[in-house]
């Protein structure tokens, strides 16, 4: 599997300054560009392809928050944790540790956690990384810090590992819904998205389809078809997003089940 051509050409311009990452919003727009790249493929290809390196950087940027949460759970102060997060990813992207991919059965989630634990236990590396992390803008920490989300986590009684996994699951879902929302918004269907999303988890007490149809001025049949398409697209995006983080497509189902168990324990 290879990175697609559109993405490759797009990334050539960015490759002149490989450590400068585009703002998050731009990254979202470009996320479709690596829809078929499993992360391990990207990793193994990064030495040869700027596009692959760019794709890997995107993955790191997307999934920085579990890493940051894990670091904070080690009783590390906010600013130091920020620098460590930046430095960790910076180091990681340069290191290209292919063996670790195989050791961790190809899961980006496991790979990042293992790498993180490894470097946090090495004082020398940590000091070096901390220094390296200062001033780095690889990860858009300030955006999410502004939303006051991350520091909610340390009050939670979960262990660092569980916190990491939980945060991972939330981040992944956030990505999926954001992509779905972007697609609907682009087509001028923001209201439809906001209505149909309520039906997605099949929660008790969610508005009925009839209520939503009435609200949107649609027939029941039209709404049923709209939701059918919406659900299909959601499922596709979810599997695609998980597919970015596993080595082979057959692992998607297992990863999906794992994430459910993480959230329900």
């Amino acid at each position: 599997m290879s990175v697609n051509e559109d993405h490759a050409s797009e990334s050539r311009t960015a490759s002149s300054s490989p450590r400068r990452i585009r703002p998050e919003a731009d990254a979202q727009k470009a996320s479709i560009a690596f829809t078929t790249t499993h992360w391990s493929v990207v990793l193994e290809a990064q030495g040869q392809s700027p596009a692959a390196q760019e794709a890997l950087e995107k993955l790191c940027r997307t999934y920085w928050r579990p890493v940051y949460g894990f670091i904070r759970r080690q009783d590390i102060r906010t600013h130091e944790a920020e620098d460590l997060t930046q430095g960790f990813f910076s180091l990681l992207l340069e290191r290209r540790d292919f063996d670790a991919v195989r050791r961790e059965k190809g899961r980006l989630r496991s790979y990042l956690l293992m790498s993180l634990k490894h470097f946090l236990t090495s004082e020398q590396r940590r000091a070096m990384t901390l220094k390296r992390g200062k001033g780095q803008q690889l990860i858009p920490l300030e955006e999410l810090m502004a939303n006051n989300r991350v520091d909610v986590e340390p009050a939670d009684p979960l262990s660092a590992d569980r916190l990491y996994e939980r945060r991972w699951a939330l981040t992944l879902m956030e990505q999926v819904l954001r992509r779905l929302k972007d697609e609907y918004c682009t087509g001028g269907n923001t209201v439809l998205f906001d209505s149909l999303k309520q039906l997605l988890p099949d929660e008790l007490g969610a508005p009925s389809r009839a209520d939503i149809a009435l609200q949107l001025g649609m027939t029941d049949n039209a709404l049923r078809q709209a939701f059918h398409r919406f659900r299909q697209r959601y499922q596709l995006l979810l599997r695609e997003e998980i597919g970015h983080t596993v080595a082979v497509a057959s692992d998607v189902e297992d990863e999906l089940r794992h994430l459910i168990s993480v959230l329900r324990t």
Partner: protein, 397 residues
């Protein structure tokens, strides 16, 4: 298996998809916590679960249909797409339950051409060889139980990093789903719990503890008879643990005894199961478990620090004796509970026959919570409570 906290509040459930608590919210469908920053404010676990359904060529049943669906007849996946495939000798037909411990499938055992329930437990990173051995030992012991009130286990094994066991498929559904649809009459609830208690006693006589008695582990057959399932399964996830560890692996501890919640495995005994049966009884009688916080942590804190509310305050139709029986099961100190599940069953049967019960009442404290009281005299079921004479002591059960 999914757990629900919505039992008697159907209207409220429709109005609000989420059980609001002081802090984190809990999904009314699956019981998972909905975090403050959950994407779009939806239950992320349920969203992922939706992803388990393949992009189908159908799905045109109404969104609410799943809720009205009888528990024994969950929604079929689109079979033509081969959703689940094979798992060794089993062809996975559909998911009929999910929970923190694993997934239950309706499956066809190919070699014997029979339909079974297959529970597959993903072991994750905390499993060790010791866990596996212990699970195998416990599951094999549980498989040896032969009782009409216990779901028979056909096979136990491990495959692809998961433990699994196949068992008889009970079509009626889980107790938690049944009571979610309609509250159970008091007398029917007592009859049912008395049977469950006798079943648990049978297992205890054979040296096997259940360790995870809750409504989701009680299946009802077509005639409404209870069948206990998942004997000894909780053993798989127990460790020499702390509260945190317990929280991680066991999920919602609303029916868990205090000695389990603190990870004191040395104190786990038949009294732990008596607590579990009592907690289910409490749920049936009051519509809610003895302790339910907004999060697992809060629930454990309530469990350890507070006493359950008097059942009568939650359901005025209950008489004092039922409250007494219920609360005796829920004593923090295992030694103060019924001495056996049989003793509990017999007291429930006494109540059914309008005979005096043997449990002694505890006194309500502030806010209707129960204050532990050492003992009191035997009491006629219709008489008002009388303090024991000075210097007297009640007998232990």
């Amino acid at each position: 298996m999914m757990e629900s906290r919505a039992v008697h509040d159907g209207e409220r459930a429709r109005d609000s998809p989420i059980m609001s608590s002081s802090a984190p919210r809990v999904c009314r469908k699956c019981g998972a916590e909905i975090f403050a920053d959950a994407p779009e404010g939806l239950c992320t676990a349920c969203l992922f679960e939706t992803g388990l359904d393949l992009p189908a060529d159908e799905t045109d049943e109404p969104p609410n249909a799943g809720r009205a669906r009888p528990p024994g007849a969950p929604k079929m996946k689109s079979g033509s797409t081969g959703t689940f495939g094979d798992f060794g000798d089993y062809e996975l037909l559909e998911v009929i339950g999910r929970g923190g411990q694993g997934v239950v499938y309706r499956a066809r055992q190919k070699s014997l051409n029979r339909t079974v329930a297959l529970k597959v437990i993903g072991l994750g990173h905390w499993a060790t060889e010791a866990h596996l051995k212990r699970f195998r030992r416990e599951a094999e012991a549980a498989a040896s139980l032969d009782h009409s009130g216990i779901v028979p286990i056909y096979e136990v094994g491990e495959r692809d990093g998961s433990c699994y066991f196949s068992m008889k498929l009970v079509e009626g559904g889980q107790l938690d789903e049944v009571i979610k649809r309609e509250p159970m009459p008091i007398r029917r609830a007592i009859e049912l719990i008395a049977k469950v208690a006798r079943t648990v006693h049978y297992a205890h006589e054979h040296g096997i503890l259940h360790r995870d008695i809750k409504p989701g582990n009680i299946l009802l057959d077509g005639k409404g008879e209870p069948h206990l399932t998942d004997f000894g399964l909780a053993r798989l996830v127990e460790t020499e643990s702390t509260v945190t560890r317990t929280m991680e692996v066991l999920g919602t501890p609303s029916y868990m005894a205090p000695e389990q919640a603190v990870g004191n495995n040395a104190r786990i005994s038949s009294a732990t199961d008596v607590y579990g049966v009592g907690a289910v009884l409490y749920q049936l009688l009051t519509g809610q478990p003895p302790f339910a916080g907004g999060t697992t942590y809060e629930t454990i804190k309530l469990l350890l620090d507070t006493e359950p509310r008097q059942p009568r305050l939650l359901n005025p139709k209950l008489d004092r004796d039922l409250s007494t029986i219920c609360l005796k099961c829920l004593e923090k100190d295992p030694q103060r509970r019924y001495s056996s599940a049989l003793a509990l069953a017999e007291d429930l049967e006494r109540w059914l026959k309008h005979e005096p019960i043997q449990a002694r009442r505890t006194r309500a404290g502030k806010n209707g919570c129960v204050a532990i009281q050492p003992a009191r005299y035997w009491q006629h079921p219709w008489s008002r409570w009388q303090p024991p004479p000075a210097g007297s002591f009640g007998r232990a059960n």
